[in-house]
Amino acid sequence: MGTTLREIVYDIGGGIQGGGQFKAAQTGGPSGGCIPTEHLDVKMDYEELMKLGSIMGSGGLIVMDENSDMVDVARFFMEFCVDESCGKCVPCRVGTKMMHDLLQKVCENKATQLDIERLEELAVYVKECSLCGLGGSAPNPLLSTLRHFRHEYDTRVQTVIKSENLVHQ
């Protein structure tokens, strides 16, 4: 408790495998959040992680280098939540599936700006309306990647607009 993320990754863990650049760390398992490079010196405890939109959760730590695609990371974790949802309440049962399908659309460069807005709205809705903690934390990877890696979503959307423009011209 209180050890910085930098110490864990570089001192205890021995740095990034293959000498790559640190990009993000997912804390707290699939329902936690991503922490970007600028917060490498965050102290690993409940309050500090909460401020960054992440959690201690299971204590799991996944470190990613610059080759990681953050939208795909969000999609991967959402897939886990879709599988884990019990199906009792609507926000978690349908909401996680919708968020997964929309993230898949972003991954395939087929999304529009409207889809990103839908994702943002759904994420907060599922978080606030779900019956239990699974739905309450399922949107965390999506919300934290939207918060810290918004540009990765935007570039995917922009490519769509550009190709559409090409067709019209």
Partner: protein, 236 residues
């Protein structure tokens, strides 16, 4: 132990029985709270999340059907946030299965359809899942159409709590859950079903219907379930 408490719902001061839920108190005082999985008489499960209300002093939302009233509770049922969430929930219901009102037996008498009107749903902004669903016509009197099921579990509870037959149950998980008869065997082969038709009356959509009726002619009476339970309580 019963006690009287003072609560405020949308600025209306109400003296209520502390044994009751926010939903019960609101309905008794003509304050509308939208619901789908609630049916008076059956146990509340808080699954549809339509009845979410704001309580002053908490950033969290609470389901009115499963939260009991407490002294000085200040409840908001009609904020912009609540209305927006109700609309999303409704859209998700429609996007989840294959709800096509024009060809449905319950057209015009459907709780889901009415909900759509009530929340002012103009379009479904989410990609439809269009799942492959089964229609079970093996029962001599009734049909179970998974395409129109919203997984509210009212049929399951009516069968278990009112009729005591335990024919219905839920199978699978996540968006793949399905209401099943016995051990996922055809309804017509059920050894538990008494063909009483209570599940039919409890169903808010056209998922359960009687074979004798045609498109748009289904007339459901969920109040039968409520009345039965009221009379049973009074030992009439």
């Amino acid at each position: 132990m019963m006690a009287l408490v003072t609560i405020y719902i949308d600025d209306k001061k109400i003296i209520a029985n502390s044994e009751k839920t926010i939903l019960e108190v609101a309905r008794e005082n003509n304050i509308e709270i939208l619901t789908m999985c609630h049916l008076k008489g059956l146990t509340d499960v808080g699954a549809c999340r339509l009845c979410m209300v704001e309580l002053e002093g908490s950033p969290k939302l609470f389901s009115a059907c499963t939260t009991k009233v407490a002294e000085n509770m200040i409840v908001t049922t009609n904020s912009e946030r609540i209305k927006r969430y109700q609309r999303i929930t409704t859209e998700l219901f429609f996007a989840e299965r294959n709800h096509i009102c024009a060809v449905c037996v319950s057209n015009g008498a459907c709780e889901l359809q009415n909900l759509g009107y009530k929340v002012g749903m103009e379009a479904i902004r989410y990609p439809h899942l269009f799942p492959q669903c089964d229609v079970d016509t093996s029962h001599p009197l009734y049909v179970m159409d998974q395409n129109r099921c919203i997984s509210c579990s009212r049929c399951i509870r009516a069968c278990a709590e009112v009729e005591g037959a335990y024919n219905w149950d839920m199978m699978g998980r996540g968006y793949q859950i399905r209401v099943i008869s016995d051990f996922n065997t055809p309804w017509g082969e059920s050894t538990t079903c008494t063909s009483c038709g209570k599940c039919l009356q409890a169903c808010p959509t056209g998922a359960l219907w009687a074979k004798s009726i045609v498109q748009g002619q289904q007339d459901k009476h969920p109040e039968f379930i409520t009345d039965l339970m009221e009379r049973r309580k009074m030992k009439l």
